[in-house]
């Protein structure tokens, strides 16, 4: 199942970032029952993911980033590509978790990391809401939180299309009961306390939107212009909001 077209072996079976295809394949097998049976993930429009460099931009939710894992496996299964999930900066501090994420292709979003991967025509998966998305209260489900502009800066600087991805279902699967802001385990911004001990088996629908060429007509150095970034970020946000609305409407229409 694991296609390694994007794999740049540094000579010992790993890439610069610690991605290891055999470990990733094992993780994919372990996660498959969750994907197939627990969350019953359905994928829509994955043929829209372009072949070259691109940036997937998705909504984010849940106590733990299960939506990122499902997106990673969905891309792997349907496109044969490896989505390099850009993890939050505290993730490498987590014992075992940081290493396993690196082995499956996740990276930290530093400038040098993402530049290297986009220059190699790889596929990035970014959650511009970041931790604010994971921590969103139940009343704000499917409402995009703080929308960082880093993904549009990358898109313009590296001339890469942005593909909006709406993940429907994840936002109900594991609601947060409370956040303990005084505790910062391994540098995390808070200690999450979920409303249920395990995520609920809500079915996932992953919708891929049409690629947006935010860089069209813009030179790479326009990525330094805050106004350009703000306008481009508004476009990517609007595209994802529309896709989320479409996904929610589709789900409602299928329910008896």
């Amino acid at each position: 199942m694991l296609v390694t077209t994007a794999f740049h072996d540094e000579g010992h079976g790993y890439d610069l970032f610690g991605f290891h295809p055999a470990t990733a394949a094992r993780v994919a097998r372990v996660v498959a029952p969750l994907y197939d049976r627990y969350f019953r993930v359905r994928s829509h429009g994955n043929e829209r993911v372009p072949a070259g460099r691109a940036i997937l931009v998705a909504n984010h939710s849940g106590v733990l980033p299960i939506d990122a894992v499902m997106l990673w496996l969905d891309i792997l299964r349907h496109t044969g590509r490896l989505a390099r999930v850009v993890a939050d900066r505290f993730v490498p501090r987590l014992p075992f978790v940081g290493t396993w994420m690196a082995r499956t292709g996740a990276i930290s979003g530093s400038r040098a990391n993402v530049r290297c991967l986009l220059e190699r025509d790889e596929l990035l998966a970014i959650f511009p809401e970041g931790v604010t998305g994971v921590a969103k209260p139940r009343a704000q489900q499917y409402q995009l939180q703080a929308w960082r502009v880093g993904h549009v800066e990358l898109a313009i600087r590296h001339q890469a299309p942005v593909v909006p991805v709406a993940i429907i279902g994840a936002e109900e699967s594991w609601p947060m009961l409370l956040r303990i802001g005084a505790l910062h385990p391994f540098g995390a911004p808070y200690l999450p306390v979920p409303a249920s001990p395990l995520p609920l088996p809500v079915s996932y629908e992953i919708y891929y939107g049409a690629p947006i060429e935010l860089h069209r007509g813009l030179a790479a150095d326009r990525a330094d212009d805050p106004d350009v970034l703000a306008e481009a970020a508004a476009r990517s946000r609007a595209a994802l909001e529309a896709l989320i609305a479409h996904g929610l409407a589709e789900r409602r229409s299928r329910r008896p």
Partner: protein
């Protein structure tokens, strides 16, 4: 090209001298070291035993033999190698020597190029920015860092600060750790034990450089006309556990807080140079220098592996 090489009796210095002498365009090489005996004999090679920590000695070297021989390129890589040594003498060997040599080169009109072999250890490794370190990555300016690191940062910045300030063309090579004996390699020392302890739950990516690639990078830097700061990665990038296994050692994960006292005890009992406090962040978060700039400007690509 006529080249002065400091650290001429150390493995990288000797290797560089051999590489330069193999180049027919190199007219003469002047080796400088602390030992009395020259590392090799060749009609185009001469050797001086000089204690560069003495300012007068640096002055006399650059304005004396170097001028007489028409030296136009100086390659400086003679830094103190033992990580557990500290104090004013070590600082003088690492920093004052570099500063003095650079100033004398600026004042001597025949010298047109100064190359410093710096180290990737000058970069601050952080959980927030692991993986690739380009030349703009933050430097390790923590005053609690071991002197071995602080001295290298100071020497590096001393040279960088002179870039563009005189007619001298300055190149700083931030080289990955050379995994070989006699180079001051922390990993080499670490891997001398049959059992290698590492932090439980972490397996960072490590990049190491061979002596041949380090020599090649210095040779390229000496011969090119531009100036700047360049990362020099090695051909081996692999997880710490793989490095331990491929070195035929046994990997034992241990809770992180126990490692520093255990390795301090080892150093006290056996006299090894490996310092866990110096490698703590590298053993948790890794950090591989990005060689894109050296590839584009110098034509440097690592090719020689040193891990089986």
């Amino acid at each position: 090209m006529r080249v002065l090489v400091t650290g001429a009796t150390a493995p990288i210095g000797t290797g560089l001298i051999h590489a330069l002498l193999a180049d027919p365009e190199v007219e003469h090489v002047l080796g400088v070291g602390l030992e009395d005996a020259a590392p090799l004999t060749d009609a185009r090679f001469s050797y001086r035993a000089v204690d560069l920590t003495r300012a007068r000695a640096s002055h006399d070297l650059i304005h004396g033999p170097a001028r007489t021989l028409g030296i136009d390129v100086v390659v400086h890589g003679a830094l103190h190698r033992a990580a557990r040594d500290r104090g004013d003498r070590v600082h003088a060997a690492n920093v004052e020597t570099t500063r003095q040599l650079l100033l004398e080169c600026e004042r001597q009109p025949l010298v047109r190029r100064f190359v410093l072999r710096s180290a990737a250890e000058v970069y601050a490794l952080r959980a927030s920015e692991p993986n690739l370190l380009d030349e703009d990555a933050p430097l390790e300016l923590d005053p609690r860092a071991p002197q071995w690191v602080r001295d290298r940062v100071e020497a590096d910045l001393t040279v960088c600060a002179r870039m563009g300030m005189s007619s001298l063309r300055v190149v700083v090579l931030r080289a990955a750790e050379v995994l070989a004996a006699g180079t001051g390699s922390q990993l080499w020392d670490y891997l001398r034990s049959r059992v290698c302890l590492r932090p439980l739950g972490f397996d960072p990516m490590i990049n190491v450089l061979s002596i041949d690639d380090a020599v090649h990078a210095l040779w390229l830097a000496a011969g090119r006309s531009g100036q700047g700061v360049y990362n020099i990665p090695g051909a081996d990038t692999l997880p710490l556990t793989s490095l331990i296994a491929r070195s035929g050692r046994r990997d034992v994960p241990v809770p992180g807080p126990l490692l520093a006292p255990l390795y301090d005890l080892r150093a006290w009992l056996v006299g090894f140079q490996f310092r866990y406090d110096q490698n703590l962040r590298r053993f948790h978060f890794g950090g591989v220098v990005d060689g894109a700039r050296a590839r584009a400007d110098l034509g440097y690509r690592p090719t020689i592996r040193c891990v089986g």
